[in-house]
């Protein structure tokens, strides 16, 4: 049968002559017969088989699903030199985490207080030597992390979005890492690795600014408060030590910080180094090469201080300053050779019809020279312009403003 003939048959009107008493039983050719208001053969047996299959399917599924979402508090992977902490799943009540030995949690059946009824049991024959990427991803309870002397690698993304993390303490005998006031650095102090998301609470407590509401949540002082200026100095300002050459990936993300002082020796700001710091108004650089104290007491302690990014900076990673809408001034020194994509993304916005935030990028180099450096897509901030987006302008051969 040709295709054309087949088509004609399909389109032919069909009329079936169905007697009135056969309307519920009439069987169309090529299809199963109707089964309406008639008893089924082996009805009881079929019901039993049906129920048994369902029960088995549901039970197996529940068992495997429950097993799958059940996670040990600590998960490790064995490496050549020890164990890597690959995943930490909080019991819901742990606030301090020691990264030293392979651990597990045991509960005290006599104690009904969920905050204290568990104990971390450590196997001291198994040393933890590294912390994997996203090992503590989005934990909301851990406040303090203690890193032992044996840990020789911490992935830059290990403590990503640990919202309650206030301080990271490193054993002083650790040959690879150290901490300064709860901020994680490489041992040689050349790389700043992680400033915890809630580090400001640690500083507020340390300098006597911490106040809490009845639920235990910290109250941020208001700008009108008498000691607000001191609070900004003690808590909301951070001085990166003069030895630091690299601000690591994700190191300052979500910091509650109004000002940061960068050393002139800084060469690299990695991807998302200062990502989404809504309060960050001021980025300044200083010349002194003897600063070790990260606590800001005054600019005089830092030697000569100038606005924006330091001379000698070479690399600005992608999204390095994204979403920092409080920033208003950016000066890119001539030394910069690489600017990653979206480095200053969303640092400009419109309010009441006027542009606010970073409305222009100041560049020390001339246009020809600046064209030679690598710039990623949309590295400049963009704002709404005639229903589309427009990048802010660049001031070439610009001179740094005094701050």
């Amino acid at each position: 049968m040709s295709k054309k003939e087949k088509k004609i048959i399909v389109e032919e009107p069909i009329h079936l002559d169905i007697p009135e008493d056969e309307i519920w039983t009439y069987r169309v050719e090529g299809l199963a017969a109707p089964h309406i208001n008639k008893p089924y053969k082996h009805f009881g047996l079929k019901k039993v088989i049906f129920a048994v299959v369902i029960i088995i399917a549901v039970s197996i599924s529940c068992y495997f699903s429950v097993r799958t979402v059940q996670k040990d508090t600590f998960e490790y992977e064995q490496t050549e030199i020890g164990y890597e902490l690959s995943k930490f799943s909080n019991t819901g009540y742990m606030t301090t985490l020691d990264i030293d030995f392979v651990s597990s949690v045991e509960y005290d059946r006599e104690n009904a207080d969920v905050n204290t009824n568990f104990e971390v049991i450590k196997d001291e024959t198994k040393k933890v030597t590294s912390v994997g990427a996203y090992a503590l991803n989005c934990d909301e309870k851990i406040k303090v992390i203690n890193i032992s002397a044996d840990v020789d690698y911490v992935d830059p993304k290990a403590f990503y979005s640990c919202w309650a993390l206030r301080q990271i303490e490193v054993d002083e005998n650790n040959p690879n890492y150290c901490d300064v006031e709860g901020v994680l650095y490489s041992k040689d102090m050349k790389t700043l690795i992680c400033r915890p998301c809630d580090h400001d609470t640690y500083l507020a407590e340390k300098y006597g600014h911490a106040k809490y509401d009845e639920n235990g949540y910290r109250i941020e002082p208001a700008a009108e408060d008498a000691n607000y200026e001191q609070y900004v100095k003690d808590v909301l300002t951070y001085v990166v030590p003069s030895s630091v050459e690299t601000v690591g990936q994700l190191s300052f993300n979500y910091a509650n910080m109004k000002a940061v002082y960068l050393p002139e020796g800084l060469k690299t700001i990695e991807t998302l180094g200062f990502f989404e710091i809504p309060l960050l108004e001021s980025v300044k650089s200083y010349k002194s090469d003897a600063v070790t104290d990260t606590h800001f007491t005054g600019e005089e302690a830092l030697g000569e201080v100038y606005n924006s990014l330091p001379d000698g900076l070479e690399y600005i990673g992608s999204d390095a300053f994204s979403y920092n809408q409080a920033m208003t001034y950016v000066f890119i020194p001539e030394s910069v050779t690489y600017i990653g994509h979206h480095a200053f993304w969303d640092t400009v916005y419109k309010a009441d019809g006027t542009l606010k935030g970073v409305t222009v990028i100041n560049v020390e180099a001339s246009e020809e020279k600046f064209d030679e450096i690598h710039t990623g897509n949309s590295w400049r901030p963009q704002y709404d312009y005639l229903l589309f987006k427009k990048s802010v302008g660049i001031n070439y051969s610009s001179v740094r403003t005094e701050g």
Partner: protein, 583 residues
């Protein structure tokens, strides 16, 4: 015949049959006009609601609630056992169109109210305190992602409350409204006002500020469960699928007035993101949920209700009072005998390989290309428009190719398209221009090749319903869910694969991880590869599809004859009847 003559003849045809349909047809052209406005506003309204939902990619959850990704799977597992029990009752009510024997109805109401009482009590009291706090059960619950024992009990109770509430409403409103408004659109009449209220409340209730994540999870679950009690689905378009017993007329309505009606959504789809792009924090701005979405939705809801009454369903069926009463086991075995439902089920089972995947197109737009405002609207419109021209040719394609060919072609194009996108992101993800161009072009072609199979898929489902009606005397659309009983356990387990993979690559409650290039690449590409495998495997079940138009026409003849004979007998008996349709 010249083009001019054709236009003139079409005009005469429309004029002559504006109020009364032509011989052999059932839908007057006036109703075509009503379909455009009714489906247009209903479809656009239901699309606006896609911005609200208890899932991780909802912008309200993403930017404000910030709930852990795996928590949604955990809640799914918690709700699974009750889902089985409640489904039984639900199907029984739905497939009997709300008309139950008095005694059964009382029993159902009692059970539903008991469920609601239990649900409310779990919200008011903390049942986890009744257990030993150090027992393995409680410590297990405390260790679940984003949950603790208290939150688990409250979430469990919320599902009881939801099931009881929805179940009781289902009986009450079906019985009251279905005979008058038909089986597909009655729910709009009872749900539209509470839905508008919930859409407004969901943006204004500040429960996303709760600092403790476990509390935030159960409160959000309760809020969204309440929101979900009231529906506003694309009911009127579903209604148009049964607008005529004439197969060609059905496809004609679906291909022209229904397609034209979708322009409403295209317009809303352009304006809405453009307005949102003007807000200071764009999609992360809470005003999206306080003003933009509620206002848009309420306006569309009003238009929907104005035109809803003008679109009719015309399934050949006996009057409601004379319909076949479906006993529980008849319903169960009835659907199990439907070979074509089985084919669909196997296809869905394979499709579950992609469950838990993030909306990669959204990620592409927002996190790779950082689109917002009008540019975002335009690119979304450009891609969604790609499907319109082929859709207008749907009647041709559906005549020219068999449904089997169309569906196999569809799965293969998904596999190839997704494979190309994964390759582009993996090998040239750093070059936004090149990668972006490849992705947009591929998405364009994928959209182009999607609309005809979508129309075919909808018609296949209607045909399956017609076939079921031939087999069992009712469409048993709800009892068809029994296949889900067998597949549900498997899909819920398989659906954990991707969330666990994503967790490993750093995706949890904070979507900003997608700004980290290497993490974003893994988070997008690995699940796509899993999905591609699924698309390839999904071609297999369609090889067994043999339900052609000839069989369908014969089935429709049987259904018409049944309706005719039943109504005639009812009239002879002097019984007052409603809701029937002879075709």
């Amino acid at each position: 015949m010249s083009a001019m003559q054709k236009v003139r003849s079409l005009f005469t045809e429309i004029k002559d049959h504006w109020s009364t349909p032509a011989e052999g047809k059932y839908v007057p052209y006036k109703e075509y006009k009503d379909v455009v406005f009714a489906v247009g506003s209903n479809y656009a309204g239901s699309k606006v609601l896609e911005y609200i939902g208890f899932f991780s990619s909802c912008y309200l959850i993403m930017h404000h609630y910030k709930l852990p990704y795996l928590t949604f799977s955990v809640i799914g597992i918690l709700n699974m056992p009750l889902g089985y029990i409640s489904a039984l009752m639900w199907w029984f009510v739905c497939d009997n169109l709300g008309f139950l024997p008095k005694k059964t109805e009382r029993k159902f109401y009692f059970t539903y109210f008991l469920m609601m009482a239990f649900g409310i009590s779990t919200i008011l009291f903390d049942y986890s305190r009744l257990f030993d706090q150090t027992s393995p059960f409680i410590t297990y619950l405390n260790g679940l992602e984003g949950m603790n024992a208290t939150a688990c009990f409250k979430t469990f109770g919320t599902h009881f409350l939801y099931t009881g509430w929805v179940g009781a409403r289902n009986i009450f409103w079906r019985k009251k409204l279905l005979p008058k408004y038909g089986r597909y659109k009655y729910s709009l009449y009872c749900d539209v006002i509470p839905k508008c209220i919930m859409v407004i409340l969901i943006g204004w209730l500040p429960v996303y500020n709760i600092p403790d994540v476990a509390t935030r999870v159960w409160v959000a679950n309760l809020l969204f469960a309440t929101y979900n009690v009231f529906g506003f689905a694309n009911n009127l378009e579903t209604c148009t699928r049964s607008i005529s017993p004439n197969l060609q007329e059905r496809i004609l309505v679906r291909s022209y007035p229904v397609k034209i009606s979708h322009f409403f959504n295209t317009i809303v789809g352009i304006i809405l993101p453009a307005i949102i792009g003007m807000l200071r924090y764009e999609w992360a701005d809470i005003n999206v949920y306080r003003y933009v979405i509620p206002i848009t939705f309420c306006v569309l809801a009003v238009f929907t209700m104005i035109f809803a009454g003008k679109v009719k369903e015309r399934i050949p069926q006996p009057p409601v009072e004379k319909k076949v009463q479906i006993k529980f086991w008849d319903g169960m075995f009835g659907v199990l005998h439907n070979k074509y439902l089985l084919i669909n089920t196997i296809k869905d089972l394979i499709d579950s390989l992609g469950n838990g995947m993030l909306p990669f197109v959204t990620i592409l737009y927002f996190y790779t290309f950082r689109l917002s405002g009008l540019p975002y609207s335009l690119i979304v419109m450009l891609i969604s428009f790609a499907g319109t021209p082929p859709d207008l040719l749907s009647p041709y394609f559906l005549k020219r190719f068999s449904y089997k060919q169309i569906m196999i072609f569809y799965q293969l194009t998904r596999a190839i398209g997704n494979g190309l996108i994964a390759a582009a992101m993996w090998f040239c993800g750093d070059n936004l221009t090149l990668c972006g161009t490849i992705c947009v072009v591929v998405l364009f072609f994928m959209e182009m090749t999607k609309t005809v199979p979508t129309t075919a898929g909808h018609d296949m489902n209607v045909r399956i319903g017609d076939y079921q009606m031939y087999l069992s005397g009712e469409r048993l659309e709800s009892f068809a869910g029994v296949f889900g009983w067998f597949t549900g356990p498997i899909t819920s387990f398989v659906g954990l694969i991707i969330p666990l993979l994503l967790l490993k690559y750093g995706f949890n409650s904070n979507w900003d991880v997608l700004f980290v290039d290497d993490s974003r690449r893994n988070i997008i590409v690995i699940p796509i590869i899993v999905d591609v495998i699924g698309f390839l495997l999904m071609t297999i079940p369609y090889l067994f599809w043999d339900y052609d138009s000839k069989k369908q026409n014969m089935v429709m003849e049987v259904l018409k004859r049944r309706a005719e004979v039943t109504e005639k007998k009812a009239e002879e008996e002097g019984v007052s009847v409603s809701g029937g349709y002879m075709g």
